[in-house]
């Protein structure tokens, strides 16, 4: 196996450095090396979106990214959405609208929703559904998730 590399990242605004194998999956680096277990793994093959994070301004499935590809990048995970104890508007809206049932898709869904609202601040229902279609949820039937995103877009998260 290859030698470990020193991986330098900015995660949720903080500089981090860890020694990892170059082909380690970014999801494992986050969860195991950086102890950021908010990001989830549901499939490991880029299908479910549970491992969605933002990397250098774009959302990616962290289960598909080898560590070496993330060298020097800026990452946002679910833990970085809140400001201290103050939840992000999307987090409040998911909470108040019952957008999280079992909660396992939620971290990835929140990152995808945040990205959607950045790209498209006033989405209609079809745009929300399209924007979240890379994130599978088995519990909600998506209605309450769509409602939560809509509420934030309309400026009334709770």
């Amino acid at each position: 196996m290859a030698e470990k590399i020193l991986l330098r990242l900015t995660v949720n605004g903080e500089p981090r450095a860890v020694e990892v194998f170059p082909m380690a999956r970014l999801v494992d680096v986050l969860r195991e090396d950086l102890k950021l277990t908010g990001t989830k793994e549901g499939c490991g093959e880029g299908e479910c979106g549970a491992c969605t994070i933002r990397m250098d301004g774009r959302i990616v499935n962290s289960c598909l990214i080898p560590a070496i590809q993330a060298q020097g990048s800026v990452l946002l995970t679910v833990e970085g959405l809140a400001t201290g104890e103050e939840p992000h508007a999307l987090q409040s809206a998911f909470h108040h609208h019952n957008g999280a049932q079992c909660g396992f898709c939620t971290p990835g869904m929140l990152i995808a929703a945040e990205d959607l609202l950045r790209r498209c601040p006033n989405p209609d229902e079809a745009q929300i559904r399209e924007g979240l279609s890379g994130n599978l949820c088995r519990c909600t039937g998506y209605v309450k998730i769509v409602d939560a995103v809509k509420a934030v877009a309309e400026g009334r998260p709770a």
Partner: protein, 735 residues
């Protein structure tokens, strides 16, 4: 409190990414576990071979020989081993044979692949139709159906089938086990993703041959279950614990998606023959249903799934002569298991499709045929259960049809479908019920317990083994206890299900948590208040702060005070397991669902464009959480109806990846429109009934009935009705 949409109690932790699921918990010295499986569907295990190039000495290796207690999973029928021993019989291709543990996940996977098995293959039964081994057979007889055929104006019969469905909870199964070796006895602790802590507890007590207090099972936050974490977790917990016991270190056994899909249980495939007789006025005279479930290799929960399927096979119709013959058959496929609806979606699919087929034969609108035959107050069901509640099925149906615009749309679509547009539209519906709680004598046999405990800080804790699996149990139990104690919800904690702390409230299944266990929580809360009053700590009326002080004082004086309530069968509920006659359920939830579909007759793709789900579930304790349950269930039902197809290859799931087993995305579904009609029922707390499984029953027949409306006479007899199957049916119809 009750009836308002209190916000999900554990929701904040979930949105902040702070919930702790099984794989989020770890120890520095943890080993990772892996399972070696059989590979062939039927045979005798002759030998296990360890390949070259692996440092086997570094591995913890467990085979059947190592098992300290019984090598059998304690269940309704004890027939499934934890590990097949050398010399033993392999019954399906995913059967566990050997366990491995190592600190390095990558080396572990390499080692797993380096093990090969010598198996003497035996002929396998892979098709339920060729099985002759019966796990369970049920006959329900009401009147004399054979006397009816000759005198009936119409007799309509047809065959229906439903295929396996994968639960696809987004969190795969996983367990973390720790075994402390004691001087006399070991202490086994397992934390995991599971629905029923006491099922796992029982399985491990037998596996290790330990007293109950030496086995502790803790439910971690669980990322969805839907029945899929009801019985299989007993195996995974047993495997993790065996490895931890042998290694002397904590072991994590987390399935990846492919293993989870291939090896764990699925919805039972079904085959149903329905024969119905009507008089000249469209009144149902006789119903003969033959219902077969493919149970897979072991009995697991199949007898109870079959029972629910059989009881629901007669649907919501009055019928003087009914015969339901049901069997669960063995095949050499991985065992089928519990999945939301538990047999009822299968038999109700057949019946509710058949009602539309009959309506067409009789020249009646499907709504009219149903209206003439609905059960009413004072009628009896196929099991002879007298309906004591004033159910208004016609009202429920009329409201649903109005909501979806049934009459106008049928006219509109009929005209549009006449043109040469490739997109054909249709609207269809289903009417159905779901029995709440366990079938028949199940609840009195379980005799569940729940409790309320006073805490040092003046709050109370609800003690119950019911698990939060996304449905909102923590919130609903808090609401129920808070209402009974006249305190705000934030003064109620809900204890984490941990067999060391909570009593056995029975499994979290069968739409029973709110209605049955919730009722026990309510009773325990009243008992707790009564105890505070009797001991002189509290007098009524009181303000919440006074209550808090009273609990604090009682705690300081007497230590933690706990009050429990136990389930007792109400005397008016009578059930005979031998004849299958009596009160099958304390009560039913009732529903009518309607779907509007658009079919592309070039690509055979079906889109559900509108969906209305109206139900009567007694008093709704938390409307927002309840709607969330219905929406999620409908999504699973639509997925089962159209896309979710398990492909089998020599007894194994061939498409065990999310890439090729397709569940609905946000783009595949319409906004599901949910409505509740309230009719409080005394069986539940403040009149609540069960609702978790109900939404799985209706979408498949409603969707296929809508397809029928869009496409005209066509053999729409199977779910999932994938584009391939639809193409096949349409080509046959075109000749």
């Amino acid at each position: 409190m009750i009836g308002n949409s209190a916000i999900r109690k554990e929701g904040r932790a979930k949105v902040l990414g702070r919930s702790r699921y099984t794989d989020d918990k770890t120890f520095r010295c943890v080993l990772h576990g892996a399972t070696v499986r059989s590979d062939v569907p039927h045979g005798i295990l002759k030998a296990i071979r360890f390949g070259e190039g692996i440092p086997w000495k570094e591995f913890t290796i467990v085979t059947a020989q190592d098992i300290p207690g019984e090598n059998i999973v304690a269940a309704i029928v004890p027939d499934q081993p934890f590990l097949v021993p050398v010399g033993g019989e392999i019954h399906h291709a995913e059967e566990p044979v050997l366990l491995l543990a190592h600190p390095d996940k990558y080396l572990l996977e390499k080692a797993r692949r380096a093990i090969s098995l010598d198996v003497e293959e035996l002929p396998a039964t892979l098709d339920v139709a060729s099985s002759d081994r019966v796990f369970k057979e049920i006959n329900i007889l009401h009147g004399d159906v054979d006397s009816i055929w000759a005198q009936a104006a119409h007799v309509v019969e047809a065959d229906y089938r439903t295929e396996a469905q994968e639960h696809l909870y987004i969190e795969p199964n996983g367990m973390l086990a720790i075994v402390a070796h004691g001087d006399h006895q070991d202490q086994v602790t397992v934390c995991g993703s599971l629905q029923c802590p006491y099922y796992v507890h029982k399985a491990l007590v037998h596996l290790f041959n330990l007293p109950g207090d030496k086995v502790r099972i803790i439910q971690m936050d669980t990322g969805g279950a839907f029945g899929g974490k009801e019985d299989y977790p007993s195996l995974i917990a047993g495997h993790a614990a065996l490895l931890a016991w042998k290694a002397g270190k904590p072991v994590k056994l987390i399935y990846d998606r492919e293993e989870d899909m291939a090896a764990t249980t699925k919805r039972h495939p079904s085959r149903t023959h329905v024969k119905a007789a009507f008089d000249a006025n469209g009144l149902l005279l006789g119903l003969d249903v033959d219902f077969t479930l493919d149970a897979g290799a072991y009995a697991t929960l199949s007898s109870v799934v079959l029972s629910r399927g059989a009881i629901h096979a007669g649907g919501v119709y009055r019928c003087p002569n009914t015969r339901i013959h049901a069997r669960a058959m063995a095949t050499n496929t991985p065992p089928s298991g519990a999945f939301r609806g538990f047999g009822a979606p299968q038999s109700l699919f057949a019946l509710e499709r058949h009602m539309d087929v009959c309506a067409a034969k009789l020249g009646l609108d499907p709504a009219e045929l149903r209206r003439r035959n609905f059960l009413k107050l004072g009628d009896t069901t196929a099991t002879g259960q007298l309906l004591k509640e004033d159910v208004d099925l016609a009202g429920l149906m009329d409201r649903t049809l109005a909501d979806i615009g049934y009459t106008e749309k049928r006219k509109l679509f009929a005209a549009a479908n006449e043109t040469d547009t490739p997109i054909k539209r249709g609207v269809g519906f289903s009417v159905f019920m779901h029995g709440c709680g366990f079938t028949g004598s199940g609840e009195s046999y379980l005799a569940s317990v729940a409790g309320v405990e006073g805490l040092a800080d003046g709050r109370v804790a609800v003690l119950a083994a019911s698990t939060e699996i996304g449905q909102g149990k923590d919130t609903v139990f808090s609401q129920i206890a808070a209402q009974a104690l006249k305190i705000p919800m934030d003064m109620v904690e809900v204890a984490q299900p941990d067999t060391k702390v909570v009593p056995d409230s029975g499994p979290t299944v069968a739409s029973r948590s709110t209605m049955v266990v919730g009722h026990l929580v309510e009773d325990a809360a009243y008992a707790f208040k009564q105890a505070l009053i009797q001991q002189g700590f509290l007098t009524e009326p009181y303000a919440p702060e006074v209550f808090r002080e009273a609990v604090k004082r009682s705690h300081a004086r007497l230590g933690s005070m706990k009050c429990y309530a136990q389930y007792h069968n109400p005397p008016h509920i009578v059930w005979d397991d031998k004849t299958y006659q009596g009160d099958a359920y304390p009560t039913f939830s009732w529903a009518c669902y309607a779907a509007e579909v658009a079919v592309d007759t070039v690509t055979y793709e079906v889109k559900v464009e509108d969906f209305v789900a109206n139900q009567e579930v007694g008093r709704v304790i938390n409307p927002v959480l309840a709607a969330g349950q219905i929406e999620g269930g409908v999504a699973q039902g639509i997925g089962w109806a159209l896309w979710e197809n398990v492909e089998w290859k020599h007894g194994r799931m061939a498409n065990n990846q999310m890439t090729n087993y397709i569940i609905p995305t946000s783009m595949d579904l319409p906004r599901i429109r949910v409505g509740f009609l309230e009719n409080p029922h005394p069986a539940g707390p403040s009149g609540a009934k069960g609702l978790g499984e109900l939404p799985m029953d209706g979408p498949a027949p409603a969707t296929l009935n809508a397809l029928q409306n869009a496409l005209g006479p066509l053999r729409l007899d199977e779910v999932p009705m994938t584009p391939e199957r639809l193409m096949d049916r349409m080509e046959v119809a075109r000749g």
